[in-house]
């Protein structure tokens, strides 16, 4: 059984590793610096469907397909799948995966869904006889715009703090193989809210959650940022990153040089007009599943802390004047297994 460290963290006692991963991105993601790392780039934003929601369903479906193909599995061979997305009632997951017949648990963590899913999948594998399970999440610029902001053709200016919702999906398959990347430790995030109400500045709303989760992890495990090769946050963007550094510094942790943000990796901000960076569930999921997991598998990256960050608001709560609560869940991925662990 996973060993509970402190109040927030669990160290896995059995071997859990990420055995395969799949990623898909849209045209803009393909034109970004990570374009070549994706399994699939789909230039048609509608993915051959009639609506944006159906298009996003396809993103999830194809990410699962890509991951299963690489794992030499039929999707039906997964013992479970944990999936979520940004659309109301997580419809991209439910409709996108309905044909597979995999035991399904829908989860909602906004843009933190990828790490939330990996935390839960790891604990499920640790605590049961399940052999392998999938985690998948997606976002689509067009379906997110129409749900959270304005119609696509509405003439509005995006403020400099705004972020661009990625049209992308990532799927990771977790199992018991004796092969990196290994999942070593997971930390469940706490909801943090510092009173940010501006929906065009998600990074600022989420940075406190990332800082809190990191602090909890370091405290619970007795480690320091320097013990890791990469600390990878989900979609803080430029504003959120700057604020995270300040919040972490206040707690005595220096992240500069060790930290990257998926929201700042997915696009080229100079060239692609995405303002403060990328966002959306698909941002962290696709960056992790395209360019980070392979580097841990190859040993190029040793110890990685992946913490996807989510903003847990709805348009209704914002219209009622509420602020934006943030959350971040952490997964410690490693190229080496813990010496005492076994399958």
């Amino acid at each position: 059984m996973a060993k509970k460290l402190g109040r927030h963290t669990y160290r896995l006692e059995k071997t859990v590793s990420v055995s395969a991963w799949g990623s898909i991105g849209g045209k803009k993601e393909g034109e970004g610096p990570l374009g070549g790392a994706f399994d699939e780039i789909e230039p048609d934003a509608r993915l051959g469907q009639k609506t944006w929601e159906q298009a996003e369903c396809q993103l999830q479906l194809r990410a699962v397909d890509a991951a299963c193909r690489k794992a030499h599995l039929m999707p039906q061979e997964l013992d479970f799948i944990l999936a979520g997305d940004l659309l109301n009632q997580c419809v991209s997951s439910a409709y996108g995966l309905r044909a597979f017949g995999i035991p399904f648990l829908g989860i909602y963590g906004a843009c933190s869904t990828m790490s939330e899913g990996m935390v839960l999948a790891s604990l499920l594998l640790e605590g049961t006889d399940a052999v392998r399970g999938g985690v998948v999440t997606s976002s689509h610029f067009c379906s997110a715009e129409r749900q959270f902001r304005t119609p696509l053709e509405y003439g509005a200016q995006r403020p400099p703090t705004s972020q661009w919702t990625a049209t992308a999906a990532g799927c990771a398959i977790l199992g018991r193989q004796e092969r990196p990347p290994y999942v070593r430790t997971v930390t469940i995030g706490t909801i943090e809210d510092k009173g940010i109400t501006d929906a065009a500045n998600m990074g600022a709303a989420m940075a406190p959650a990332a800082a809190a989760t990191l602090a909890h992890f370091f405290e619970d495990t007795g480690t320091r940022p320097e013990d890791y090769d990469l600390i990878l946050t989900g979609d803080l963007g430029q504003v959120g990153r700057d604020l995270l550094y300040q919040l972490a510094a206040e707690q005595g942790y220096r992240l500069e040089g060790l930290h990257q943000d998926c929201g700042l990796l997915l696009y080229d901000r100079q060239r692609q007009d995405v303002h403060a960076g990328a966002s959306g569930c698909g941002c962290s999921a696709s960056v992790l599943c395209s360019s980070i997991l392979p580097r841990i598998a190859s040993g190029a990256l040793g110890q990685v802390l992946f913490l996807a960050t989510g903003a847990l608001m709805s348009t209704t709560m914002l219209q009622q004047g509420e602020s934006i609560p943030g959350i971040a869940h952490l997964v410690h991925l490693s190229s080496r297994n813990h010496p005492e662990r076994r399958c």
Partner: protein
């Protein structure tokens, strides 16, 4: 000269709108509502109509001009019809614009679909 006046006055209305976007928390929808209501008020106070006569389209095209149109319509209707004019004046005055915007939107929505960005 007419064109210059229209350009400068219309431009100033828009520049003010941009100041509101950049320096206040007002959303575009709130700014549009404020312009129309302000237009009704300025029209009612008799300030806006002289501006329309001075700048032509420069004052009538910005949404405040839409408000002024409503105020003018109500004024005429109350003079002509009395109590009922309170309710018919505004919509009657803006009937052309609203019906046109509505029908254009309907046709465009039937013909085109939104594009990816």
């Amino acid at each position: 000269m007419e064109y210059l006046k229209a350009f400068v006055v219309g431009g100033l209305f828009c520049a003010l709108g941009q100041v509101l976007i950049d320096y206040t928390k007002l959303t575009p929808a709130r700014i549009l509502v404020s312009y129309v209501v302000a237009g009704v008020a300025l029209g009612a106070l008799g300030i806006y109509q002289p501006l329309v006569e001075f700048a032509g389209a420069g004052a009538s095209v910005p949404l405040a001009g839409f408000g002024n149109l409503l105020a003018g319509g109500v004024k005429e209707a109350v003079a002509r019809e009395g109590f009922l004019g309170i309710f018919t004046g505004g919509l009657t005055a803006c009937a052309g614009g609203v019906a046109a915007a509505l029908c254009c939107a309907l046709v465009m929505a039937l013909v085109f679909r939104p594009r990816e960005k």
